[in-house]
Amino acid sequence: MLQYSPNLDLAFQALADPARRGMLERLTLGPASVSELARPFDMSLSAIVQHLKVLEAGGLVRSEKVGRVRTCQIEPGALSAAEGWINQRRTVWEQHFDRLEQYLEDTAQGAENKDHQP
């Protein structure tokens, strides 16, 4: 199972912004410095740092300062690719079965009538 995130509100908040999702997608390719992260965005470095703080608070990214360079990476426990995929498959099926239950409920009346036919 995936690591439990202690603060889901912060994680959701972190994912709610397209720039932060972009930064996260970049980090799935490997660790990056703050300036590398900033490159595709038309944004000041300080704005990027603010976004980074939100991602860190959400438990999705961790960063480490070595000398003058801050390197960021995906929080490994939050995002193991294989586990994420497996979990996603399960979630998709669970959602299908929620809809299946709804469908069975919605069609129950007609089916009962049919069942009662000789």
Partner: protein, 157 residues
């Protein structure tokens, strides 16, 4: 050699469904019924669909956000016992990238006037992190995975 990665895993979902096994089976067997529940989120659109529900028959379905990544389900049926069991294999593709190949067993058992459904999926989950084009695709699914993970964590909190 490119570094490749495969993870083997099994997961199981059990549900008690409010209908007799015969009616649950029909919801899996008839395309018109299955189309009502075998769909993506409401804003997704289906771009491909076929269903040939018999041993050796195939079923395909492609869904996704309009203009977004296509989630393609490609299944082959191997065992069908009406009202009791369905066994099929399926591959999942995100656009052109195959993400997994699975064996899925659906077992239906009567439980009073309801049905106990046991869904078991055994899969080879393929991830090729060193393969650049695939990895680019993979990031989309990763984002989906994060969101699904958050959704499922929320559901259990």
């Amino acid at each position: 050699m490119t570094a490749r990665s495969v993870t083997h895993a099994t997961f199981c979902i059990e549900r008690t469904l409010s209908a007799a096994p015969a009616r649950v089976f029909k919801a899996f067997a008839e395309q018109e019924a299955k189309d009502k529940w075998f769909t993506g989120p409401s804003h997704w659109v289906r771009t491909e669909r076929s269903m040939d529900f018999r041993v050796g028959g195939r079923e395909t379905s492609s869904v996704g956000e309009p203009g977004g990544v296509q989630h393609r389900f490609d299944a082959t049926y191997f065992d069908i016992i009406p009202g009791e069991r369905i066994v099929f294999t399926y591959a999942m593709h995100l656009d052109d990238v195959m993400m997994s190949v699975s064996i899925t067993t659906i077992e239906l058992a009567p439980a009073g006037d309801k049905t106990l459904m046991k869904f078991t999926e055994q899969g080879a989950f393929l991830l090729d992190p060193a393969d650049a084009p695939q990895r680019e695709q993979g990031t989309h699914f990763l984002m989906d995975a994060v969101e699904a993970w958050l959704a499922s964590e929320t559901a259990t909190v």
